[in-house]
Amino acid sequence: MTEPRFEPGARIRVKADFPETRGPCHIRTPHYLRGREGAVERPLGAFPNPEDLAFARPAARIPLYHVRFDQPSLWNEGQAGDTVLVELYEHWLEPAA
């Protein structure tokens, strides 16, 4: 699972998942992006899954991406054209229509 599945420009949605509600976990995907749509800026390589590393479990290397989001639509305020660029792991991303 180390070859990136998404190419630059691909439209993605961040999974609307909240593992925090199910038990102890370590998540590097900010709450404010769960369920939101963005575009892959570029792949950033593959890194051991921090969700496993944090608990000293064997950690598979997972592709990491820089993903760009429209900033005003995340918050319903702000200036058109502003963006947020975030590192996200592939298992949090699904293709958006």
């Binding site: 760009r68 995340l74 305020e77 702000g78 200036q79 502003d82 660029l85 975030v86 590192e87």
Partner: protein
């Protein structure tokens, strides 16, 4: 933010480092070396990188391609450090770095993060109201300039490569580096001659 260490926490730290050493994960010498490296790191390293990028097209190309290699080229050991990414401002685009989850910061080239970078207020507001935050820093961008907030959430550490300010034609790299403050490398301020 900083609290004086209690005897209990010092004792806990000593037991923890002893356990790491006993398991062969890290030695006391490696910990000491890492502390020394972090203590030595300083925003002047990042400033020197920016000034060199402004004056040396080959170095600019290296910085765009591989921030860690660009740091190594300035004599910084990046062994064991997270990869360094460089966010290049251009006319119409300004980068602002924040870590909303904790306080990820490019320590190898900027040193210890300032207290405000770790504050809940900066972390919450930079991503939601970047223009308001910049205004409070006294940083005004041209109206048409878009802001790109970079939320440093994972394995990279990010520094900003600001635009070279007007009025610095003919300056050498040392003089240019004197304009590049820590805050300019995070994106809260612009370099000004």
């Amino acid at each position: 933010m900083a609290h004086a260490a209690s005897p209990d926490s010092i004792a806990l730290l000593e037991r923890f480092t002893a356990a790491l050493a006993a398991r062969g994960i890290v030695t006391e010498d490696q910990i000491a070396a890492q502390i020394a490296r972090t203590d030595r790191a300083d925003p002047r390293i990042g400033a020197a990188m920016v000034a060199r990028a402004w004056t040396d097209p080959d170095y600019l190309a290296l910085m765009r391609r591989d921030g860690s290699a660009a740091a190594e080229a300035m004599g910084v050991s990046m062994a064991g450090a997270p990869p360094l990414g460089v966010l290049e401002d251009r006319p119409g685009l300004h980068h602002l770095v924040v870590c909303t989850l904790c306080s990820c910061y490019p320590r190898a080239v900027l040193g210890y993060p300032p207290h405000w970078y770790k504050s809940a207020a900066y972390r919450a507001r930079a991503v939601r109201d970047p223009r308001g935050v910049l205004a409070e820093w006294g940083t005004t961008l041209p109206e048409a300039t878009q802001i790109r907030v970079v939320d440093s959430t994972a394995d990279y550490r990010w520094m900003v490569l600001p635009e070279r300010p007007a009025g610095t034609e003919g300056w050498d790299a040392d003089r240019l580096a004197s304009l590049v403050t820590r805050d300019a490398l995070v994106g809260t301020r612009l370099p000004r001659p």
